[in-house]
C-alpha cells in the first residue's frame, strides 16, 4: 500500500474530502444516470463531502482515448478522468498502456465483500485484475422473448440452430463489432469447441484453427435463415432491441439481464417479455470501475469506488425499479440482515433470476481470443 | 422584315402613382431604323424592355408582324436587346460573351469562333477576345454588348443607349456598322437615345417621348423644323420663342412683323426660329431683318452661340466660329430670320 501513497483509509478519506470525482460512464440509460447522480452522488456528498460529476459517453473507448491522449501529451498527474466504468477490451487497452492506477485494494474497507477467489471476478475477460479496478456489477448473458408471440424459445445453441431454420427471418445477432454480438458469437464458438475449457488461457493459434472452421460453418449455415437472409447484421445492440420491439425478430439477448426489465419499464419491450439462460450455460462477466493513473483525485475516486462496493449502494442498484443489476459483492459475506434484504428483493418479471442464471455460468475468454474470433467472424461470416 | 406595333401600351411600376409609360401607340415599319428619343426617365428603357418581353405591360398590346407577342417568352420573340448597363456575363470571356447567343442556338463551335472573330474585328476589339469584361474600359464593354447582339442578326434589334460611352469617331463607325447590317438584313431596329443628334444621324424616324407619352413621331426634319408644340421644339434645341399674333401670311411681335412661308398655318401665337438658321451680321437689309445687341458669345467647338437682345426679347443664334469671330460683344448687329426658318406654334 505504500506505493499508492496513502498509509491508511482514514488518510484517503481525509484527502478526499471536498474533492471531485469525474466519472466517465455510458450514459444511454436514464435510470442508471439517475442512480449514479441522484443516489451515489448524493451519498458521497453527504458522507464524504465529495462531489460526483457523472459524464455520459457513448462508448467507453472515448474515455480511454482521453487518458491515452493525456499520457501522450505528458499530462501525468492532472488528467480529466477520475473513474471509468470499464471492463474487457478497454481494461486491457488501459493496462497495456499503463494507464491505470493500481494496487489500492488493500486500502478499501469494502474490499472485504469482494470474493477475489472467484476467477470471474479476479479476471476481467481473462485478464488478471491486479488491483487495478474494483468490481461494480455482475452480468450474465441471457435471452429474452415475447411470451405473447413465441411459445417455446430455443434453450440451447443446438436448439437455437434448429429453431432459426424453422423460423426464418425471426432471429439475428449484432455484428462482431458490437460487444453483445461478439458475446453471442463466442457462445457458438464454445458450442463448436464442445465447451469453453479448451479455449481458456492465452491465445493459441492451433486451438483456434481447430475450432474456428466449425464455428463459422454453424454460423454460415444459420445465415440464410436469419433476418434479411443474413445479408446484414445490426451494428449495435440497440438496433437489435428496436428489431425485437418492432416484432421484426423474435429473440433478443443481452449481457446484462437487468436491461430486459428496464426496457419493459421504458416501454421499449412489451410487458410480456420474459428471459432465460441457456441449458448449456451462458457467459458471465463482471464489470468494474477503474481509476486512471493520472487522475488528480485518486483519493476521492477510491472513496467512490469503496462506496460502490458497500452493501447499501449495491442493494440500491439491485432494486428492480432502480436498475436491477446483480451485485458484484459476495452477498454471503454480508450480515444476515443485509443478506436477507438482497434475497427478498422482488424481481422484475422480465428478468431471469440471477441466481438461477449463474448456476450455469461460462467464463469469458482472454481478449486476444476475442479479437481473433471477431476478426475471424468478419472475414468468414460477414462477407 | 417584321413590323412592330405598340397599341396603347402602358406600364405602371408597382407602388408608383404615375405610369412610367402611358398609352403609347406607334407603328414601326419592318426594316426601319427608328429612334426612341427623350430626356432622362421619360420611359424609353421601359418601352424597350416591354417589347423585348422582359417586363409585362400593365395594359395595351405589342404586335410583331400583326401578331400579339405578349404571351411569348423573350427568347421566342427574336427580339434582341442591348442593355443600357451592358450586363456582360462576368465569368465569361469577351469572346464567350459575344458568342453566347449562337451557342444557345447550338451552332457548331467552329462557326461561332469564326463569327466571334469577325465581330471582334468589327467593334475594334481584336485582341480582347480572351479578356474578362472587368478588364475592359467602359466603352469597350459597351461595344462587347453591341457585338453580342449584332452577331445574332435578329429580326428585331432593340438598343438601349448603345453609344453613350463612345467617342464621336467610334460612334460614327459603330453607327455605320449598324447601318450596313440594317441594310443587309432588313432588321427592324429600335434604339433608345437621349441625344437628338444621334437620333437624327442614324434613324429614319424618331419617336419623341416626354414623361411617358409619345409626343411626336416623325422624321428628323419635321421634328426640327415643324415641332408640334413648344415642349417638342424645346427638346430639339429651340431656344427662341416670341409671343405675338398671326395675320394672314405674317406674324406680328416685339421684334417686328415677319412674313411667313406659305406652308405655315397662321393660327398660333408663338413664333419660333432655330438658332442655327439665323443670319447675323449680314450687311444687306432684307425682308424679316432687324437690328439687335450682341449680349454674349460662347464658343462651343464647331459652333458659337450668340446671345442677342432686342428690347425685352432675348434669343440665341448659332454661327460657325469663323463668322462669329469678328463680332464684338456689346455691339449692334443686323439679324435676318430667313422666311423658311420661321414656324408658328399653337
Amino acid at each position: 500500500t505504500e506505493k499508492v501513497g496513502y498509509e491508511n483509509w482514514d488518510e484517503v478519506v481525509a484527502t478526499a474530502k471536498g474533492g471531485t470525482v469525474n466519472w466517465f460512464m455510458w450514459g444511454g440509460a436514464d435510470n442508471i444516470n439517475q442512480y449514479v447522480t441522484d443516489y451515489i452522488g448524493k451519498e458521497l456528498q453527504k458522507r464524504h463531502d465529495i462531489s460526483l460529476n457523472r459524464i455520459g459517453i457513448n462508448d467507453t473507448a472515448e474515455a480511454v482515448n482521453i487518458v491515452l491522449g493525456e499520457k501522450q501529451a505528458g499530462i501525468d498527474d492532472n488528467g480529466s478522468v477520475d473513474l471509468i466504468w470499464i471492463n474487457g477490451g478497454n481494461f486491457r487497452t488501459m493496462k497495456q498502456g499503463n494507464l491505470l492506477f493500481c494496487g489500492y485494494h488493500g486500502l478499501l474497507p469494502n474490499n472485504q465483500f469482494v470474493n477475489w477467489q472467484d476467477p470471474s471476478i479476479a479476471n476481467d475477460f481473462g485478464l488478471s485484475v491486479d488491483e487495478c479496478e474494483v468490481p461494480w456489477n455482475r452480468a450474465q448473458f441471457a435471452f429474452a422473448y415475447d411470451s405473447a408471440r413465441t411459445q417455446s424459445p430455443p434453450k440451447s445453441i443446438p436448439q437455437l440452430i434448429g429453431w432459426v431454420k424453422e423460423n426464418p427471418g425471426a432471429f439475428t445477432y449484432p455484428a462482431a463489432t458490437d460487444f453483445n454480438g461478439s458475446v453471442f458469437i463466442r457462445h457458438v464458438f464454445y458450442h463448436a469447441a464442445g465447451g469453453p475449457e479448451a479455449l481458456l488461457g492465452d491465445f493459441d493459434q492451433d486451438k483456434f484453427d481447430a475450432v474456428a472452421p466449425k464455428a463459422w460453418a454453424i454460423l454460415n449455415e444459420m445465415k440464410p435463415y436469419l433476418w434479411r437472409e443474413g445479408t446484414t447484421y445490426p451494428n449495435a445492440i440497440a438496433s437489435l432491441a428496436q428489431l425485437f420491439a418492432n416484432r421484426e425478430v423474435a429473440l433478443y439477448f443481452d449481457y446484462d439481464p437487468a436491461i430486459f426489465g428496464i426496457n419493459v419499464e421504458n416501454g421499449i419491450f412489451p410487458e410480456t417479455t420474459r428471459s432465460y439462460g441457456l441449458d448449456d450455460g451462458t457467459i458471465g462477466n463482471t464489470n468494474y470501475v477503474a481509476i486512471p493513473y493520472n487522475s488528480p483525485n485518486k483519493a476521492a475516486a477510491m472513496v467512490a469506488a469503496n462506496f460502490i462496493l458497500s452493501a447499501a449502494a449495491q442493494y440500491e442498484k439491485a432494486k428492480p425499479d432502480v436498475w436491477g443489476a446483480a451485485p458484484a459483492i459476495d452477498v454471503g459475506r454480508l450480515t444476515k440482515e443485509e443478506k436477507s434484504r438482497f434475497t427478498e428483493l422482488p424481481r422484475h418479471p422480465a428478468v431471469i433470476d440471477p441466481a438461477a442464471l449463474s448456476q450455469k455460468s461460462l467464463p469469458e475468454l482472454h481478449p486476444d481470443w476475442i479479437s481473433a474470433i471477431e476478426k475471424g467472424w468478419q472475414e468468414n461470416v460477414a462477407k | 422584315m417584321t413590323d412592330v406595333s405598340l397599341e396603347k401600351l402602358t406600364k405602371a411600376y408597382p407602388g408608383q402613382t404615375r405610369p412610367a409609360v402611358n398609352d403609347v401607340s406607334m407603328h414601326i415599319d419592318g426594316g426601319s431604323l427608328t429612334a426612341l428619343l427623350g430626356p432622362s426617365a421619360c420611359g424609353k428603357s421601359t418601352i424597350l424592355k416591354m417589347i423585348a418581353g422582359l417586363l409585362p405591360p400593365t395594359s395595351g398590346d405589342i404586335r410583331f408582324a400583326r401578331q400579339s407577342v405578349l404571351q411569348l417568352p423573350p427568347n421566342r420573340r427574336d427580339a434582341v436587346m442591348v442593355f443600357q448597363n451592358h450586363l456582360l456575363f462576368p465569368y465569361m470571356t469577351v469572346g464567350e460573351n459575344i458568342g453566347f447567343g449562337l451557342k444557345m442556338r447550338h451552332e457548331p463551335k467552329k462557326d461561332i469562333d469564326r463569327a466571334v472573330g469577325r465581330m471582334l474585328e468589327l467593334v475594334q476589339l481584336e485582341d480582347m477576345g480572351t479578356r474578362k469584361p472587368n478588364q475592359l474600359s467602359g466603352g469597350q464593354q459597351q461595344r462587347v454588348a453591341l457585338a453580342r447582339a449584332l452577331i445574332l442578326r435578329p429580326k428585331i434589334l432593340l438598343l438601349d443607349e448603345p453609344f453613350s460611352n463612345l467617342d464621336a469617331n467610334l460612334r460614327l463607325e459603330m453607327q455605320q456598322l449598324l447601318n450596313s447590317l440594317h441594310q443587309e438584313l432588313g432588321t427592324t431596329m429600335l434604339f433608345v437615345t437621349h441625344d437628338k443628334e444621334e437620333a437624327v444621324g442614324l434613324s429614319s424616324k424618331i419617336a419623341l417621348i416626354l414623361n411617358g407619352t409619345l409626343r411626336q413621331y416623325a422624321s428628323a426634319t419635321v421634328l426640327y423644323g415643324q415641332p408640334k408644340d413648344e415642349d417638342v421644339a424645346r427638346f430639339f434645341g429651340a431656344r427662341n420663342f416670341v409671343p405675338g399674333k398671326c395675320g394672314p401670311g405674317y406674324f406680328d411681335c416685339a421684334l417686328g412683323r415677319f412674313t411667313l412661308p406659305e406652308s405655315v398655318s397662321s393660327t398660333g401665337r408663338l413664333l419660333t426660329f432655330r438658332p442655327e438658321n439665323i443670319v447675323v451680321g449680314g450687311d444687306n437689309i432684307l425682308e424679316n431683318s432687324f437690328h439687335a445687341t450682341l449680349a454674349s458669345k460662347q464658343f462651343l467647338g464647331s459652333q458659337t452661340v450668340l446671345g442677342l437682345q432686342k428690347g425685352d426679347i432675348f434669343f440665341e443664334a448659332l454661327l460657325s466660329p469663323q463668322i462669329a469671330e469678328p463680332l464684338q460683344e456689346g455691339s449692334t448687329v443686323s439679324v435676318h430670320l430667313p422666311q423658311r426658318s420661321l414656324w408658328i406654334l399653337g
Binding site: N53, G69, S239 | -
Partner: protein, 281 residues
Amino acid sequence: MLMQTNRHTENSRDGLSGPVWFSLILLVSWLVLPLIPLAIWSVSRSWYFPDIIPSAFSLRAWNYVFSNTSDVLPALGVTTLIALCATLLSVIIGLPAGRALGLYQFRGKALVELLILAPTIVPGIAVALGLHVVFLSLGLAGSYLGVLIVHLIPTLPYMVLVMAGVFANYNPDTEAQARSLGASAIQTFFYVTLPAILPGLLIGSLFTFLVSWSQYILTLLIGGGRVVTLPLLLFNFASAGRNDITGAISMIYILPGVVLLLLGARHLTGRSRAVESLRQI
C-alpha cells in the same frame, strides 16, 4: 456593379404552377417529416410495430430532461454560448480568408482551399486524438476556451467556403467608390461590404453555429467531460435507442435554431429586399 433594373413586383401574377407546387410540397414534407416522429416520441411510452400512433403516452422523457440529473438545461446554455462565440470567431477569422479565396486568383490557391477544407475531409477521430494532444500541450484542454477554439477547426471551413462563394460574385469597385466618398476602411466594411455580403454571412454563421452546436467528439475529448454540451447528452440516448429521451432533447435542440431562423429568415431568403422575379424568365 450591376443595376437590377429589371426587377419588379408582380406578386399577383407570379404564382406557381400545379406541378411545381406539388413537388415543392413533396420536398418540404420530406424535409419536415422525420422531425414529427421525434416530437411524438418525446411524449410516448410505447410505440412499436404495427401501431401507427403510440399505444401509450408518458411524460417521463420530459421529466427526465428537466430533472437535475439530466443536466440538459445547463448544457443548453453552455452549448448556445459556445456556439455563439465560435460563430463570432469564425466570422472574424473566416471572412478575410473567404474574401481572399473568392476575389483573387493567386498561386497556391488550390492548396489553400484544400488546407482550409481539410478539417471537414479528415475523419474526426483521426485528428481528434492528435488534436487532443496538441491542446493538452497548449494547456487548453478541459476548459471552455479550449472547447471554443477546437470548435473553430470544423466550423471555419464552412464559413470560409460560404464566404468564398459569396465574394466570387462580389464587385469590389463599390468599395472603391465608398473609399473615394471618404469612408475609412472600417466604415467601408460596415456600410458597404457588410450589407452586400450579409445574406451569405448569415448563412455562413448559421452553419458555423450549427456545426459547433452538434459537435460531439471534439467537445468530449478537449472538454474532458468538464464542458458538458447538449450533444454529449443527446448522443448517449440516440445511440442507445432511447427514442423518447432522444425526441425530447431533440425538441429542445431544435428550439434555438428555430428562433434563429425566425429572426434570420428574412435576410436569408431576401424577403426584406423584395427579390422579385421576372414573370416569364
